[in-house]
Amino acid sequence: MASSEHFVAKVDDGFEVKVDAVDTTTPARSSWGDAWEYLRHRPLFYFSAGLLLLILVVVLFPGLFTGMDPKYCDISKAKLPTSGEHLLGTTLQGCDVYARVIYGAGPSVLIGVLTMLISTILGAVIGAIAGYVGGVLDAILSRVTDIFFAIPFILAAVVVLQMMTNVEGIVKIVFTLSAFGWTSSARMMRGAVLETKEQDFITASRALGLSKFQILVKHIVPNSFAPLIVLATTSLAGYIVAEATLSFLGLGLGSDTVSWGVDISNAQESLVTNPALLLFPSGALAITVLAFIFLGDVIREALDPKARQ
């Protein structure tokens, strides 16, 4: 077409400029629904979720998987290799390794889940208050968070556990890990709240007459929660590792407890002669942790469209 020509496209019959037409043919979907729609199509999600489901069943009903008693040890059957009777062989004391791996899941997962819940909730509350109220309170809470953040996590846990000799078992470990684990969720929640606070719908809610507290609970917290879910999932994995590390250092659960960390710690001595004793509980631990890390990763992509590309 030459420059001066006036071109007009053929107008089809029934041509109509529809301004901003509403499409109600697709099913309704919230942003959570959107995330779910993404998850539904990710094999990794099914893989990790399925694995975690299996682990959950193992934790709740270990008896389904083995008829052996993990605490029953027969020194005459020590250091046996893999056999029909002892699927993964026996330990130095003659305990069944397979039964110990199955029953050892409980304490590890329980500590992970409890610590995750306590530290996430504690962190979320502190972070939300700091971000929402702002001012002097924010400055104080942020500095307190900095202080707890500055002490290397494992070091802090080691110090506390060493001092808390009169408290026993899982409670002690959950308390210690939570006491120093809440800082990341507090920082994240504070950032998310600060961002949500600036949105127009918050101002609109103020103009409607909602009280400060109503705005926080109804609009700010729900909209700031998404990144925390991802952090909670991956930190759960971190707490399971931390528990094992503390057991390895001899500061975790008592050696009479059946747990992966304890078994890994006990296996150190026979590393060269009997590496399988280390391999099986560590393998179980790594698979559990991997499942949580995978889940966290895929949820992050689902909740943050920017991470998908």
């Binding site: 500095r143 307190v144 900095d146 202080i147 707890f148 500055a150 002490i151 290397p152 996590f153 494992i154 070091l155 802090a156 080691v158 110090v159 506390v160 060493q162 001092m163 808390m164 000799t165 009169n166 994995a237 590792v241 094992a244 590390t245 390895f248 250092l249 001899g250 890994i264 150190q268 590393l271 060269v272 590496p275 280390l278 560590s282 631990l285 790594a286 698979i287 942790v289 991997l290 890390i293 995978f294 990763d297 920017k306 991470a307 590309q309």
Partner: protein
């Protein structure tokens, strides 16, 4: 910029005071008598007990004890350990060992983590990207000490390529495996961070503008994409250096390295709180100082900081 740095140093003061106080409280305000722990099952004579109590200011109020300790930290006079040796000397001997270990690990995480991250970030969803991504997740999932034992067993015992333990042989060859183990999880995190930042920056408007100028893909990647991804990376890497020194606790135990983590570990079991508190104080100081260095670096990298403006993304 000077103002900005001064502000950061000012903000670091409460953190140093707070952390040391917290640790001091945890160690000394908890039940249990440090002197009883010192002598184990033996019953010390009363005069000796009194002398020790005076030496360690144990009869003063808690907060006064803390300030004596703080004075010690800044005058490098940390008193003596229960075995009689000056704590400053113990730390002085252990610190260089850990510094070599952490430094080597640091080099590993930059070399491996950043390089893989750049390649994967540019070629997202390629075979390389997917493979390294999976490896990084696996790396994160395996506890450091398990990784240590596995490498010890495979590389040291089975293949006999590298020495299994360090002991008093503090040289590069002996430190190679421990450093790799210590760096493991950080490599994975740095890889993921670099990859994510690169991919994010690639989408930025100014990158398209740079290409529209006629720059080649390589020029754009180096001058614009990588340059801009550097800032969050520096933040992470900086705080990680201190974390490496803390993480050395596990690695040093596995490989029998007589560094600062080992010092702390053995004294925790001995119940020598003064040594423990001193070590933690040193580590916290390292964390705070590396944070301040990071802030300075950040200010150098991001001109928006220099005038004290808030940084927005981009």
């Amino acid at each position: 910029m000077g103002r900005y740095i001064a502000l950061r140093i000012l903000q670091a003061i409460p953190v140093v005071l707070g952390t040391t106080l917290l640790i001091y409280f945890l160690v000394f305000a908890m039940p249990g008598d440090p002197i009883a722990a010192m002598f184990g099952d033996k019953q010390p004579p009363a005069g000796v007990v009194q002398q020790i109590r005076d030496n360690y200011h144990l009869n003063d109020p808690f907060i006064v004890q803390y300030f004596y300790f703080l004075k010690g930290v800044f005058t490098l006079d940390l008193g003596n350990a229960f075995n009689g040796r000056p704590i400053a000397e113990l730390i002085g001997a252990a610190l260089p060992v850990t510094a070599v270990l952490a430094g080597l690990a640091f080099v590993f995480e930059i070399l491996i983590g950043v390089t893989c991250g750049i390649v994967a970030g540019i070629k997202r969803r390629s075979i390389f990207d997917n493979t390294v991504l999976i490896i990084s997740l696996v790396l994160i999932s395996i506890p450091t000490f398990v990784m240590g034992y596995v490498l010890q067993f495979v590389l040291g015992v089975q293949l006999k390529i590298l020495p299994t333990t360090v002991g008093s042989n503090v040289d590069l060859l002996h430190m190679l495996m421990p450093a790799l183990v210590l760096a493991g999880v950080s490599i994975a995190y740095i890889f993921r961070l670099t990859r994510g930042e690169m991919a994010q920056t690639l989408l930025a408007d100014h990158v398209r503008t740079a290409r529209a100028k006629g720059l080649t893909a390589k020029q754009v990647t180096l001058r614009h994409v990588f340059r801009n991804s550097l800032m969050p990376l520096v933040t992470y890497v900086g705080t990680d250096l201190a974390a490496l020194m803390g993480g050395a606790l596990v690695t040093e135990t596995v490989f029998n390295i007589h560094g600062i983590g080992y010092l702390m570990y053995t004294n925790i079991h001995k119940g020598d709180g003064t040594v423990v508190v001193s070590v933690v104080a040193i580590l916290v100081l390292a964390y705070v100082v590396s944070n301040i260095i990071v802030d300075c670096l950040y200010a150098l990298l991001d001109p928006r900081i220099r005038v004290g403006k808030k940084v927005s993304s981009g």
